[in-house]
């Protein structure tokens, strides 16, 4: 029962930090001078972006580890990080669109970072559905790992080609350029989401493991009526 307890602890700490950070972000932090209250979405948007990148980096590492070590554990973790990464990039696009409409006047712009995130979302969602369409566990594990490596290698290339093609997104702010009352909820939310992500990865990889066991298990003998 211990690993379940660890995951539950991470999830609780994560949810606690997220509610605290969001409280600070929504009520305590001052509104932005130019963007007003709209800017408060940054307290979830920026942590989501960071964690989405962390999770996809992990997916790349797990895919590589699976192809080298050939252990099912890496495949389960690969599946978990793929799914959570797709979820986070989808959330990221929705949050960005909600912020973009009042600030830029449009839901979507062909900015390099936006476009790269959209391409990542599409690539990794494609790999997730590839996993659904492959029945043999070995094929599923090794082919989706290959696709993850290709898609990850493509991310910087997409970024540079789109940046050259068009540009508009804000430059990154650093803690030095931002009021400390704004930095605090951002940091708390980032750590909260990190803890929650660890819990989600753990739980999702157990589900993947259990599903693979069920797939590989011999069929039960038929019971005669």
């Amino acid at each position: 029962m211990t690993r379940q307890r660890v995951a539950a602890a991470f999830a609780l700490v994560g949810l606690g930090l997220l509610s605290w950070g969001s409280y600070l972000g929504l009520w305590v932090a001052p509104p932005d001078r130019y963007m007003g209250d709209v800017q408060r979405i940054m307290y979830v948007h920026v942590p989501t972006a960071w964690l989405a990148l962390v999770v996809f980096t992990l997916a790349f590492v797990y895919a590589l580890l699976f192809l080298i070590r050939r252990t099912w554990r890496w495949d389960a973790l690969h599946e978990a990080t793929l799914e959570i990464g797709v979820l986070y990039t989808a959330l990221l696009c929705i949050q960005g669109a909600l912020w973009g409409k009042p600030t830029w006047g449009v839901y979507w712009a062909w900015d390099p970072r936006l476009t790269t995130v959209a391409v990542m979302l599409l690539s990794f969602a494609g790999i997730l559905s590839l996993r659904h369409f492959l029945d043999d566990p070995l094929r599923r594990a090794s082919w989706s790992a290959t696709a993850t490596i290709l898609a990850s290698a493509n991310v910087p290339v997409v970024y540079y080609s789109v940046r050259w093609w068009n540009s508009l997104h804000q430059l990154q702010s650093t803690p030095k350029t931002v009021n400390s009352a704004m930095v605090e909820p951002l940091r708390i939310n980032a750590f909260g989401l990190l803890a929650l992500t660890i819990a989600l990865i753990m739980i999702r990889s157990w589900i993947a493991e259990a599903r693979r066991r069920r797939d590989l298990a011999p069929p039960l003998p038929e019971i005669e009526a």
């Binding site: 192809l67 391409v119 599409l122 690539s123 494609g126 790999i127 559905s129 590839l130 369409f133 492959l134 029945d135 043999d136 070995l138 094929r139 090794s142 082919w143 790992a145 290959t146 696709a147 490596i149 290709l150 898609a151 290698a153 493509n154 290339v157 997409v158 540079y160 080609s161 789109v162 050259w164 093609w165």
Partner: protein, 218 residues
């Protein structure tokens, strides 16, 4: 490797009917694009380079898929993998697909010029963009065709994985073709070609290295 190439060319030659069909398909997509854009001649002319690459991209999903048809039937690939390395099988197929797509592009050029009244400005530049751009499509496309052909919903799987991956190749091919069609006052053609070349180098080597995992597992 030479024997494999010979086999691929023989297969391609025996499937001539397929060549005619994919050419017709590409021409049909060109017509559809023009109907969707409207009858504005100037607009169509400006969109011609993009249409050229979209036609090649869409037709490539069919030809790439077809290149593994002979292999997936009767488990022929299992026999092939015993006598040749996965990388050599992959490169033979990718090379054949590349030549085919480049040829398709060359044939589409006069059609584009006629349909959209586009001046084929710098023909040498257009030729090199076509060669390099189709190379960028062929390597990842061949690898994903190998994978999609043996999964359920094969026709759906290939574009789903292959389209997002070739976006950089598509962007730079379209840009370089535009500059070749309409002139290049800012001298940017070389830059887009280097990006395309980098894409080709990365994915021709990476896909070759990863082909073992696709062709030997399962």
């Amino acid at each position: 490797m030479m024997a494999l190439l010979h086999k691929e060319f023989l297969l391609a030659w025996r499937g001539r009917a397929r060549v005619a069909a994919s050419l017709t398909f590409a021409a049909a997509t060109l017509l559809m694009f023009s109907f969707s854009a409207g009858a504005d001649g100037r607009l169509l002319q400006r969109l011609a380079p993009g249409f050229l690459w979209l036609a090649i991209l869409l037709a490539s999903t069919l030809t790439l898929q077809a290149s593994f048809d002979a292999e997936t039937q009767d488990g022929a690939l299992d026999g092939l993998i015993l006598s040749a390395s996965a990388a050599s099988i992959f490169y033979a197929k990718a090379l054949t697909n590349w030549l085919f797509l480049a040829a398709l592009g060359f044939v589409l050029l006069p059609l584009i010029a006629a349909l959209f009244d586009a001046q084929l400005g710098a023909l040498d530049r257009l030729m090199s963009v076509l060669l390099l751009g189709t190379a960028g499509l062929a390597a990842p496309g061949t690898l994903y065709a190998a994978l999609a052909g043996r999964s359920r919903a094969a026709g759906l799987m290939l574009p789903l994985l292959y389209f997002p991956l070739v976006i950089p190749a598509l962007v730079s091919s379209v840009k370089a073709s535009e500059l070749a069609f309409f002139g290049d006052p800012m001298n940017q053609w070389g830059g887009w070609m280097s990006l395309l070349l980098a894409f080709c180098l990365i994915f021709w080597s990476l896909c070759g290295a990863l082909s073992t995992a696709i062709l030997e597992d399962g």
